[in-house]
């Protein structure tokens, strides 16, 4: 395979890692029935926290811990507001988006483009020598590997384990889960926190891996991309990862032609990922897919449902209250 192409693919996988982490985190959260709309703000604030902690201790581990804690803390605010105070998850999430972004902008002023964090490049012996695949997947930095692990672990947990089955049931029909002995709200806390932690890890992946410096403009906006990709991915981890790589690939193409076209065209090309997003959301959530299903033979339906259809967990965004037990 062409070496340039291999390098481009390796780059796509690397640049996509933070969004993969955030989108997988949100997938897990939403599978439990909670929407954490604060993703864009969480990502920026945890990116700053990770960078500050990392640069002042020279430790990528402490940087990651700082990022994860911030993401987790913000997610817990969403969970408490939703579960204890019964507030709209969308309202709280949106306000948190703005608040966290502004907070990061303000607190990050002294660190603006100050320094570069040394990336943790970790080629995996033996595996990296596999032709093509080795160069794309196993010659990467720490965060890229973490993003692979997150995707596979989330898929395995959701669809191959007992607690994963319970998680899906909590997001689909919490009343049933409760009747089967599940503590619905405790699980919602847990998975919202785990999801938030992964978002924080995604933030850390920006400032300690991809960029790797503090720049709010390099991070902001990607949280919204991640939220939209969760829908495009139909709440399936593998489809979510694919969605991220599609967007990252499109961005890579734009970057590669940047030098050849005038700036006004570059700016318009930058709108392409968003247009792609609208188009794909239109396909997966619009009424047209159902119309398509109606004409296709029934044998193809299961395939098309899993590959194309996006049906949110039935209890997404709702509050669980046990009747008669007020």
């Amino acid at each position: 395979m062409d070496e340039v192409l291999v390098r481009t693919f390796a780059d796509i996988v690397k640049v996509g890692a933070p969004i993969v982490l955030a989108a997988i985190g949100e997938t897990i959260t939403e599978r439990s029935g909670v929407v954490n709309l604060s993703l864009d703000g969480s990502l920026v604030l945890s990116a700053l926290a990770a960078f500050v902690a990392g640069i002042s201790t020279d430790s990528v581990i402490i940087g990651i811990l700082a990022g994860v804690s911030v993401g987790l803390a913000i997610a817990l605010v969403v969970a408490v507001c939703s579960i204890e105070l019964k507030l709209s998850q969308v309202a709280v999430g949106f306000v948190l988006t703005l608040l966290c972004r502004d907070l990061a902008l303000f607190l990050g002023i002294p660190y603006r483009n100050a320094q570069v964090f040394p990336t943790t490049f970790l080629p995996i012996p033996v595996l990296k020598d596999i032709p093509v695949l080795g160069a794309i997947f196993f010659n990467q930095d720490l965060f890229t590997y973490l993003s692979f692990i997150a995707v596979i672990a989330a898929w395995w947990w959701l669809f191959r384990t007992k607690p994963g089955l319970t998680l899906r049931a909590v997001g689909e029909r919490p009343q049933t889960a409760f009747a089967r002995g599940v503590n619905v709200n405790a699980l919602r806390y847990l998975y919202t926190a785990i999801g938030g932690g992964l978002v924080g890890l995604g933030g850390a992946a920006y400032t300690l891996g991809v960029l790797p410096t503090w720049s709010d403009t390099g991070v902001a906006g990607n949280g919204w991309i991640a939220l939209a990709i969760v829908i495009f991915g139909g709440w399936y981890p593998l489809r979510v990862a694919l969605g991220v790589y599609l967007v990252a690939g499109l961005r890579a193409i734009v970057t590669s032609v940047q030098a050849q076209v005038p700036p006004q065209v570059v700016e318009l090309l930058n709108a392409l990922p968003w247009l792609l997003m609208l188009l794909t959301l239109f396909i997966v959530s619009g009424p047209y897919l159902d119309r398509l299903l109606r004409v296709l033979p029934p044998r193809l339906h299961p395939l098309i449902r899993t590959v194309l259809r996006a049906r949110p967990p039935s209890a997404l965004g709702t509050i669980f209250e046990q009747e008669g037990r007020r």
Partner: protein, 506 residues
Amino acid sequence: MHVELRHITKTFGSVRANDALSLEFAEGRIYALLGENGAGKSTLMKILSGYQPPDSGTILIDGQVVTFQTPADALRCGIGMLHQDPLDVPNLTVLDNFMLGRREGLLPKRNAAREALAQQAGRLGFQLDPFRYVDSLTIGERQQLEIVRLLSLGARLLILDEPTTGISAEQKHALFSALKRLAAQEGMTIILVSHKLEDVAALCDEVYVLRGGKLVGHCQMPTPIEALVTLMFGQSLPRPTRSAHALGEEILRAEAVSLTARRLTVRDLSLSVRSGEVIGLAGLDGSGQSDFLRACAGLQALNSGRILLAGMPIHGKRYPELLRLGVAYAPSGRLEEGLVDGLTLTEHFALTAGNGMWINWRGAATLAAEQIARYNIRGAPHSPVQTLSGGNQQRALIALLPKNLRLLLLEDPTRGLDVESTAWVWQQLLARRDQGAAILFTSPDLDEIVTYSDRVLVFCEGKATLVTDLDDPSRNPVERLGELIGGKGFGGKDSWVAWRGGAAPR
């Protein structure tokens, strides 16, 4: 297992749903818990199965006092409950549903679970495909899955809440024979919560009757049905009779309609309805009867064919336009669909009555007050609708129906209402019919369909069959409909299946 309830009391607001109830359930017997809606049956069973704690009173199992924090606690003690709307997860497979809630490690033992499912189901004579999605099953099949699951988790006492609503005669037969076998051969205790006396007579050994939260009767079967009715209502009820009335011209015409319902596609449905006619739509839940109603209201698209309103095709017209032409649709959930939570009665009348840009609030309040008096709604013009009781919400919905009605499309119009409210609602509806409106309604209650319909359209397995001679004295009409919706009775042997499709030659 011997279960005893002692002095169970539960209060909601000012309503005492259970008033010091004491009941006993012995091993190997089948009990009925009878009572009309609001008698306190469901509350008591929710307490027994761990969904709600009682305010006071105790539950004893084999002489030991037990308390349940959750339904899972109750199931661990051997008490399992089957809900009217089975409490499962529709978007998961049968096997996933079967495994959900089993206490085992991180990795599910899928093969073992599949064998357990097949074995339990086989023992009861049920057939369940482990890989089907639950949302493609009928209510009856979902009930079977729940029963199998509860038994496999060690339930020794099984509570069934109105299990025969919305299932076919065949499924009912299978269910009852399985229950009888469980009680007789394995010593299970069964409690049937119902208001259907024929089910009680067919299945039960003993009957407890509740009225207004109190225990008013305990008798051994067989007991004459009239005696049970008297216990349930405090008086014996006259059976409502259908009055003859003149039919007008054709209001609605369906020509070779095909539409997609939740589980199947209905094909080649033809029907002609004249003003003053009442047509009941019978069938298993999701067989297309609700979808046909919605299609007549312009709320659902047809695959093919056409529907005409007084000779004019309704294709492409949306419901608000049809409403102006005298077509009204009332869905079954009152507050979920039909009334707007948070708006007052006055605001509802302002919304539905009158046109123009500005709202005349004083006029709307006057109208609301008039309608409140006329329909005997317990509430004020400024009452938010969610503060009204279920029966009063139903009254409000009827009061909101436009004056010049030509076609009324009702989905389960008396869901959750007590006998008195049901009678009132039908009195209002038939008054509209006498003014010349045609009525199409669905109901899971075949009694209601038989009582009020002139003709019945039975939906089964993608076909819609018209039944006209309900008055034939030689056969019980409810049983006949029950067989039809279960898929039996087709093929022309039964003379009373007059014809399929076409206009009614009345």
